[in-house]
Assembly symmetry: C2
Amino acid sequence: MAKNIQSLERAAAMLRLLAGGERRLGLSDIASALGLAKATAHGILRTLQHEGFVEQDPDSGRYQLGAELLRLGTTYLDVHELRARALVWTDDLARSGGEAVYLGVLHLQGVLVVHHVFRPDDSRQVLEVGAMQPLHSTALGKVLSAFDPVAHAELVDAKREPFTARTVTDLDAIERDLDLIRAQGYATDAEETWEGVAALAAPIFDRHRMSVGAVGITGAVERVCRDGEPRPELIAALRDTARSVSRDLGAKPF
Amino acid sequence: MAKNIQSLERAAAMLRLLAGGERRLGLSDIASALGLAKATAHGILRTLQHEGFVEQDPDSGRYQLGAELLRLGTTYLDVHELRARALVWTDDLARSGGEAVYLGVLHLQGVLVVHHVFRPDDSRQVLEVGAMQPLHSTALGKVLSAFDPVAHAELVDAKREPFTARTVTDLDAIERDLDLIRAQGYATDAEETWEGVAALAAPIFDRHRMSVGAVGITGAVERVCRDGEPRPELIAALRDTARSVSRDLGAKPF
DNA sequence: GATAGTGTTTAGCATTGTCGAACGGCGGTA
DNA sequence: TACCGCCGTTCGACAATGCTAAACACTATC
């Protein structure tokens, strides 16, 4: 077990703490939350501020996340290979399906949205790139959990919060669902996360046939489903997209 | 001169290095680029990887930026007060003006785009939130340089690259432009950064009457300008928006 | 199969970051 | 106005911490 650099771990913990708390935090809050001496916390914060990862409100003296994080986070998207390959295909999927398309990868105990194509109409929508989705209740999360062992382990460890009356939190029931997902090659989310919203998702594989992410379609349950089941043409288009992206990543079609 | 934490500075330098280089970088590249021993660079990278700020390609062993940066960067947007206040007004400006709207803040030697409203038509556009714009040639950059002393200092220090035949790089000429901008209260960019693209921008002030950012309109020069001058109705709408956001931030209207 | 490159691990030293206490400023309250 | 409590910041000394250099596996290349 190699040991990691202490000051970096503490700095990372600070950034996560600042990301978690809604508003700005004071130095004393941060120091006590992490169990550090004020001077120690201050040294780390001063460096983070100097590097642009943290900003300090001149009036209150409180700290918040800094602009450099946004710049680097955007650069992460530019470098992301899966996202680059998926850009072409997801646009077509959104247009043909008439619904919003999401691309997600496993991150910590959830799904990180790395790409989001708006539903092709003139309604006002907010971009959800960078947002997290739970593993146990969303189509993206379930399909990752079904095909990625790491994601599965995270799903088991995570606390599975119920969001609607249809959310499945029992582990045995989830495992049965995952078996079904593995068998049929796609996952569904019928109002298990948001009321009135349904979703479909299919896995994306790399050249080693390892699951590296998932594509999903999300929309109003009335449009995505018919007679309680997801519309077959949506499933077909989604799986075609997933296969196309996988092929672009070097996955051999058997 | 307080001293900053060495390992943190080095870690930040690594992240910036990874953000700069197009593709993934190897450990030896990183170590030599920063003048560090391989083991030192490895220890920092291992910690960054463990914290999710850096990812390592299992095949090549090379490093790239990690997903946690995207998550934290998005959170930065959520906390950003200026952006939150501007959200309401920029939508209206884009609709009434018929052009794309940008919100920018000073970051390092450039303008960081923290909000971007698409031009209200059905054309395909890519979101530019998180991207950087130069100070000396864009409307957003010039208006910040005119009203924010820090931005002005950065503009003087920065190397002013010419992008088109109309780009002004001479410092004296820029200073005269800034005087004009301060006098009229808005800045223009007539094909100084991108061929065929013109932009307008106006400053946003906080409760201390300090410039904290800028709003801008960007579009094809044929639509934004008429007879070589920006359309007056666009200028009026833009300045109204800037004033509204400033008022929301607590700036007294004199 | 030798070579040159990679990323990784090890051991010891001294640099480096941590700690506790004291400092100056601000905003309350008596 | 003077007090008090809390804030963020600075100081100085100690030793734990992270750095350096060299050796280690490993893979690709020729």
